[in-house]
Subunit: 407 residues, 2 copies
């Protein structure tokens, strides 16, 4: 067939979804973590990857801390009428030590006075006419004290290198006074859309043309994954032009191509990559959408060839390329945050492929979004999750649990 | 009890978690959506809330589009030997119309030639010695064509006002050429940490003092929810100082207070709010952590009083305040993205409260993170999800499904 060639250059068997993901994690995991680090203020560190371990600078809590408003007492004094000898508020320390029969008024968060080992909650205490206080019931109190060092001992690791800094990690940095922190640089990710039919969003399409949406959705996805997107000009269906842009893309930390990876005569992406000495780890995965997705390495840089239908591009980015960006950025957790939900309707599919379908997740239940296929961007935009149909299970009844990936 | 007063001013019954969330959504939902809109470039619109509907500017696809590389044919010609009369690539249009016995080579994404109504995939065609082509098997082809307008008709709504713009919505904007777009302004959210024991993160704590982490984790949470955080100075345990800062906070779109909402003598936040004429919708919810969470309105602004333990502050923000910011920002979807996961270990809790526990979610399974309670920031930082224990279910076996909220 001289007219139409199958230009797929790799003859590896199609991989299952799990094997393909394992391949990405293995190949990227074998690259060295970036040795460079940079220092930034903790206030603007959300989403960055920690490049150092963070330790407790003192015991946490730094003192025996009252969990309640009430009366600091000796637990063995519970049945006595207790004389109030003072008070201690959060931020203060009580001078002196508690003796038998004595109590100190104490507020939530305040350090326990010396000699006290329990807090009688204010709601469970009563005041006698002579001004002393007493537990309303026997069996009070619970201790209501967090002992010094119970949350962390001085020197303990609180956050590990490779942690993605979210709001809770930022709270952790603030609590130990780490106002500046070492993080890994964000990987620079080149984005190369391909195809003669594509024009830029501000242009008016002629018949047969469509606007470039893939470069812009990929840029948003790269940024969310922690990378810095670098959008290259559109590669036209011409091997020299495509090759030159691929070479430019391979100067960044990762290259994402969209389109040009199916089987036709003018798919010139894989041959252009092959010319550059590319090694292909896979070029077909048993998924839908996105079956012809390509993963490889050239000039010591990894690349993905993402199928050009918009929904295919977005899905294959999420399930393959996102993990690569996380690893290149030094993140230790690259796992897909899969959970489950119960189908609100029966669902069936032809087994053999792992299917990712736009869906709406609500209250532990999931409903597929009506979609016209991998060109139906609006259907994906109406979804807040993907349901993931198992290649080994053809039928699901309403109420059955099914795998869910947040969008 | 003149010495220690219960200063809680509201005598409403404690609300269940679901009732408290419904209260927030109802009260906020009754506010008018912000009438102001602003126009921004679509490239930087990720996370913003759309203030207009977005329509299809033409049919999508704009032409009958080939889904495959192969041969455009008349489906009724399937058993014939077909003469190739030309080719059409993506971005081109074929001049002329197909007659019986003719075919046009066609590439994925290209417009169908006039007269053709199906595509014979290249992998399922064979070429005869005379240069004609023929289907390898009977029962070919599937049509392999997306009809013009199948994904959307010109004028159809693709994205609705109130949509949060994510990567797929950005793809949608690009595809219809909406390079600038109307969005709602981001609500400004004042953050007011309270307490005499609190110092700033760059300061060195004396005995009894701890660093302010809540203002900084809240700022990260507000930004993630689509708001603009405005951190106020720490309010000291002094009614005039606190009142002045609350008044300042109530000049923003929403006020978040942390700390100062428990039952003790020096909790002066609620009295200060009451002085300002506050209306309280709830001041206790049957959850853990975060039971003393307060929600109200003063001077025509909503406020939350979030309990001061760091984990309580973070959790109550996520499950109550986040939805308020979304509504104030014009978002139509405020639902918690709850899903399910199977417990890897048995779990029990004292029923009566809805419990949110730091947990690690992986492959549809969830494991509670060992935690020392609501001061244990590092435990929460190690989690990627909350498991949500039902107030009516005391015991869960390993393998049981349980509710999950992504962190």
């Amino acid at each position: 067939m001289p007219g139409i060639k199958r230009l797929k250059l790799v003859s590896v068997a199609a991989l299952s979804f799990n094997d393909a993901r394992a391949t990405v994690l293995r190949e990227l995991g074998n690259t060295m973590p970036p040795p460079a680090i940079e220092s930034i203020g903790f206030v603007s560190s959300a989403g960055r990857i920690l490049a150092e371990d963070i330790f407790a600078d003192r015991d946490y809590p730094p003192f025996h801390r009252s969990m309640r408003d009430g009366f600091a007492i000796r637990a063995i004094d519970l049945d006595l009428n207790l004389r109030i000898i003072g008070e201690v508020r959060a931020g203060q320390t009580f001078n002196g030590a508690l003796q038998t029969g004595e109590t100190v008024e104490i507020m939530t968060g305040a350090p326990m006075p010396e000699g006290a080992d329990a807090v009688l909650m204010v709601e469970r205490a009563t005041r006698n006419p002579d001004g002393t206080v007493k537990a309303i019931r026997k069996n009070e109190p619970n201790l209501n004290v967090v002992p010094r060092g119970a949350e962390a001992r001085e020197g303990a690791i609180l956050l590990e290198r490779g942690t993605r800094l979210d709001y809770s990690a930022i709270a952790c940095l603030a609590s130990v006074g780490r106002t500046s922190v070492a993080v890994f640089p964000q990987p620079k990710v080149a984005i190369l859309a391909t195809g003669d039919e594509i024009i830029e969003p501000h242009e008016t399409p002629r018949p047969g043309q469509i606007r470039n949406s893939n470069a812009w959705s990929l840029a948003a996805q790269v940024a969310r994954a922690g990378g810095i997107p670098v959008i290259l000009p559109i590669a036209r269906d011409n091997k020299d032009h495509t090759r030159a842009l691929i070479e430019q893309g391979l100067q960044h930390d990762l290259l994402l191509l969209s389109g040009g990876v199916s089987a036709g005569r003018y798919d010139i992406v894989e041959p252009a990559l092959a010319d550059l000495g590319a090694e292909f780890f896979f070029d077909r995965v048993l998924i839908q959408p996105g079956q012809p997705v390509v993963f490889g390495r050239a000039r010591n840089r990894f690349f993905f060839g993402l199928p050009g239908n918009p929904v295919s591009t977005m899905v294959t980015f999420e399930v393959f390329a996102r993990a690569a960006i996380q690893i290149l950025g030094g993140a230790s957790d690259t796992e897909l945050p899969l959970s489950l939900a119960r189908l609100t309707v029966p669902f069936r599919h032809k087994p053999g492929l792992t299917r990712f379908l736009p869906a709406t997740l609500s209250g532990g239940e999931i409903t597929p979004v009506a979609s016209k296929g991998s060109g139906d961007i609006a259907a994906l935009a109406r979804a807040n999750a993907f349901l993931i149909a198992d290649p080994a299970q053809a039928e699901y009844a309403a109420g059955d649990p099914i795998s869910v990936l947040p969008k």
